[in-house]
Each structure stands twice: as C-alpha cells, then as structure tokens.
Amino acid sequence: MSIYDQLLQFLIAGISIGSIYAVMGLGFMIVYSVTRVINFAQGEFAMLGGMLSTVFYAKGLPLSFSILCAVLITSAFGMFLHRTVIYPIRTAPVFTLVLATFGASIAIRGISLIIWGTDFRILPPFSKLGAMHLAGAMINIQAVWVIGTTLLMAIVLFLFFEYTVPGKAFRASSINALGASLMGIKTERMGAIAFGLAAGLGALAGAVVTPMMTTSSEIGLGLAIKGFISAIIGGLNRIEGIIVGGLALGILEAFGAGLIHSGFKDVIPLLIFLVVLNFRRGGLLGDPEAGKI
C-alpha cells in the first residue's frame, strides 16, 4: 500500500470519527441555543443509543427496529432529563446548570454500569459487504454508513430549522425568548424539544458507530469532551461550523495517530486549536463575538 493510499485511509477514518464528533457538537448546539446550558450528558445519549441497540438486537429484534427503539427511548429520556434536572432550576446561574448536567452524566453512567457492567458490546455491520477498495485503500463500509447518516442528520436538521414552523419557533426562542413568547410560542416547551432532539441525534450517532468501534457504559464522557470541543471550535451557533469543527478534529486525530504516534492522537488537534483560539476568540469558524458571554 503506497503512502497516498495510507493517507486516504487515514482521511476516511478521520472523517467517519469526526462526523460522530460533529453530531455530538450539534447536540451541544441545539441544547445551548434555547437553554444556554452546555450539556455534558450529551455523550451519555450516544452511549445509551449504542447500548440499547445492542440490548434490543440481542433480544432478537431486527437491527433497524432495534436502533429505532433505542433512538426513541433515548430521546424520551432526554426530555425526562430536562424535566427533572434542568427545568426546575432553569433560572439558576448557567454554571450551576452545567454542573447539574455533569451530575446527570455521572448518574447515567452509574445506572448503565449497574445494569450492563463494563463489557464492550458490538452490533453487526449494516451491510454485508465488509470492506471496499477505493484507489488502493481499504474502506470499512460501516464508515460510509456513519458519514452518510451524519450528513443526513445535518441536512434534516437544517431543513427543520429553516423551513418548518416548529423549527422556526425553535430558532425564534433561541434568538429572543421573550419576543418569541409574546408571539405565542411556548418557549417553555422548547427546552424539552431541544433535549429530546439532541438525545435522539446522539443516540443515532452512537448506534451507527457501534459496529465499527464497539460501545460500553463508559464511552459517554470521552464523546462529550470531543463534541464540546467541536461545538466550541465551530462557534456554538452554526450547523456548518460545528460540522467542519468535528470533521477537523477527527481528521487531525486520525493523521496524528497514523503519522506520528497513536498515543498523541488526543493532543495534536488540541495543541493546534489552542494556538488558533488565541487569534480567533469566537472559535475557528463561528462569529468572533460568540465566545463572549
């Protein structure tokens, strides 16, 4: 395999893991836009999506139906989390709310450990093809599923926000909650919708990536960190910014791991971003003012 084929392989690995980071980042954005909360339980949604899919699949349900159930349950759970943890203290300082989401993240992991233990679990690949050759590089077909699903989610999200009435109501509440409520939008409900949506997206991402990377009770926090970084790099307010942020993080990680040393994969993108953040305070792609609160 030539060096170019290897580079191509790293690139595709990077894009597929980066698209998961991007979906996590979108989850952060959705919740942040109406509640101003950085929700560190976002990674647990992906964990639940993956774990529940494996549980239903092991019970004998068809793969697609298992994933659908997992996504719906996680989405409902996201709304439940909002109702029980965030909603009662929605007027508290933001930092208090963020720590409460940390508490939720830790509690969910605890429950998952109690029920499912620490074992790694896996789903079968979505297509039987296995691997595909592209210009000499071997490509895992599941990576195509991951990238395709992410792209689809981003497009659906974009259309939802731009062209549907609930989506517009959602955006209105995020721009000006008081104004939106005066127009008859039930802004109180928007927080629950945001959590449900973010949880559903996270769960789907967690399920799609499971055949490729396995899942376990403890993957949530790591994914949340990566998603948080992607969202901040992207500027926390733009779908396209966060997608580019997540992909950049994934690609830099893959190249760092492949070309330098796998132990340094987490560090290389961070060092680059630390330098860049010093020049662009609003993230790499977002509005420079967005970093200010």
């Binding site: 203290i89 830790i106 509690a107 605890g110 450990l113 960190i225 953040l277 970093g291």
Partner: protein, 330 residues
C-alpha cells in the same frame, strides 16, 4: 471585621480539634485513607475556590498541575536522588511556573473557550504523563517513590500522612484567608462581578485584571502541585490514571458543593463528597449483596444534581438558610 476574625479563629480551632481527634475515634485504616483523599482534594479545591470564587475563572485543568507536582516530585527523588522535601518545594515551584506560562495563553480566553483551553491542558498533560515512557514510566508509572521523613523519623503509616496532609491544609487555609484579605484579594473582588465588582471599573482604577488572574491561577497551581507531591510520597507510586479528566472535574464539583467564594466550602465540600460516596460503598452491599463501585458513581451523580437544585450556593449556605427561616418565624 473584628467579629469576622473572631469567628474565623474559633472555626479554625474547632477545625483543628476535629482533624486531630478523628484518627483516635476512627480506627479503620481504610477510613484514614479516605481522610487523606479528602485532604488532598480539599487542597486542590482551595486553589480552585480562589480562582473561581474570587477571580471568576473556571479551570477544567487542575489535574494537570496536580500531576505536574506528582511527577516532578517522583522524577527528582527517583532519578536525581533529590531529598523528598526539596523535591516537594521544587515540584510546587515548577507547577506554579508552568501555570504562569500557560496562564498567559489560556487566561486571555473567556467563558466556554477558557473551559476548553483548560480542558486541553488536562488532556495534554495526561498524554505527556502516559506517553513519555523514558521519563514517567508510561502507563505503568513509577513505583518505589521514597517516603518523607522528619528529622530521621520516616513517615511510613497512613495516619502519619493524614496528619501531615491536614497540617499542610491548615497552613494553606490560613495563608488563603490572608490572601483574600490582602491587596490582591481586594483587587480580585473589584474585578469579579459575583463579588459586586466590575472588570471595567477595576481597569479604570489602574488594576490590571490579567495580572491578578494569572497570579491566582499560579497560586491554585501551587496548591495542586503540593497536593500532587504529598500524594506520591504517601502512595510511593505514581500512575497517569490518577490525573485524568475526572480528577479535574471533582474539584469543580467540590467547590460548587461547598459553596463558591467560600474557602471553608472547599474543605466541607471535599469531606461531604467523599463521605457520601463512602457511605454508599458501605451501605449498598449490605442491602444488595454482590455489588461494588457502580452505586458510588450513581450516588455522586445524584448528589451533584440534588445540591445544584436545592443548594445552588453550596453547603455553606445552610446556616444562612436556617437563620433566614428562624427570622421569618420570629
């Protein structure tokens, strides 16, 4: 002010009595190690409390300085044969120095970007500890780090370290009270809006917010560095897993649990944080045999949620709440 001072000395005396008496009452060696962890995390949280409560800066990277203190101490004593006490001083100084350097870059950021940047410090240093095998021993770490000794008497037992760590904590607590009352403390309060200050107004009076932010960041790193050094000399072992992401998050939780802007809060928060978890660890197997650490994790999570919901100003606000209720009744 006199009254405040008198209450403070009384609290300190009570605090010291409790700390001294505990090992006579609690005989279980395991509980003494919990006491050690409470002391170490209280030390890190005290620094973070100054940074958050007085300078208004969040740090998700305190584990980096805790780790620097630990590894500098370990490397100096193991590879260079330096006296452990000297190593501890050098470890604290190096940790402070690194915080000064990194603070100049990181503290220019605000809000979420500051959180990400400090989180990056945590991850970067964790990777250095785990990957620089020739220096740090990699993932397996370094065993056999020498114990501390005082005038020919080697501290070997856990209870020795319990007293040593809490003695350090007491001295640093008193020092921190003085910092808060000093020129630096007043300058910080003028910057931080939670304390009724304004960064703009402070700037116009010739106070440089950046300078004070970096100074407090360095101080918090010094505390964490000392804690790290004490930790490795007690355990005689250092591994990177002690300095991961959760090691950065626990002090954040402890400060919020105890109460931001209160130095006692850091210590009370650390004590409650560990004691509740231990209570769960002890009780759950009695009720449901065959279980282990999972319930402890669940307990931590639920505790954080409940405290944020019902005591957003932390445990130190309980007396105020009780007093407030008493007043309305009277």
């Amino acid at each position: 002010m006199e009254n405040v001072k008198r209450t403070r000395y009384a609290s300190l005396a009570l605090f010291m009595i409790i700390v001294i008496v505990i090992p006579f009452v609690v005989k279980s060696p395991y509980l003494i190690t919990i006491g050690i962890f409470i002391g170490l995390y209280a030390l890190i949280s005290l620094g973070l409390s100054l940074l958050m409560g007085y300078a208004g800066q969040v740090s998700m990277g305190q584990s980096a300085f805790y780790g620097i203190g630990a590894y500098v101490s370990a490397i100096l004593t193991m590879k260079c044969g330096v006296n452990p006490w000297l190593a501890m001083i050098l470890a604290a100084l190096f940790s402070t120095f690194m915080a000064g350097l990194l603070g100049m870059v990181v503290l220019r950021l605000e809000g979420h970007l500051l959180a990400v940047a400090t989180l990056a410090l945590c991850i970067v240093f964790y990777t250095i500890f785990a990957q620089w095998k020739s220096m740090t021993g990699g993932v397996d770490g370094m065993p056999g780090i020498p114990k501390l000794s005082i005038g020919g008497f080697t501290l070997t037992r856990d209870v020795h370290y319990y007293y040593l760590i809490w003695a350090f904590l007491t001295v640093i607590l008193i020092f921190s009270f003085n910092v808060v009352d000093s020129r630096v403390g007043r300058a910080l309060r003028s910057i931080h809006h939670f304390q009724g200050g304004s960064e703009m107004a402070a700037k116009s009076l010739g106070i440089s917010p950046m300078k004070y932010k970096i100074q407090v960041f360095m101080l918090s790193a010094a505390y964490a560095g000392i804690a790290g050094s004490l930790y490795v000399h007690w355990l005689s072992l250092v591994t990177p897993s002690s300095f991961g992401f959760l090691t950065s998050i626990y002090p954040l939780i402890i400060v919020s649990l105890g109460g931001q802007g209160s130095l006692w809060g850091a210590i009370i928060g650390a004590a409650v944080f560990f004691i509740v978890a231990e209570a769960f660890r002890a009780l759950v197997p009695i009720l449901k045999p065959g279980t282990s650490g999972e319930y402890e994790i669940l307990a931590w999570g639920l505790m954080i949620i409940l405290v944020m919901q019902f005591l957003p100003r932390g445990l130190v606000s309980i007396p105020d709440i009780l007093r407030g209720k008493g007043k309305t009744k009277g």
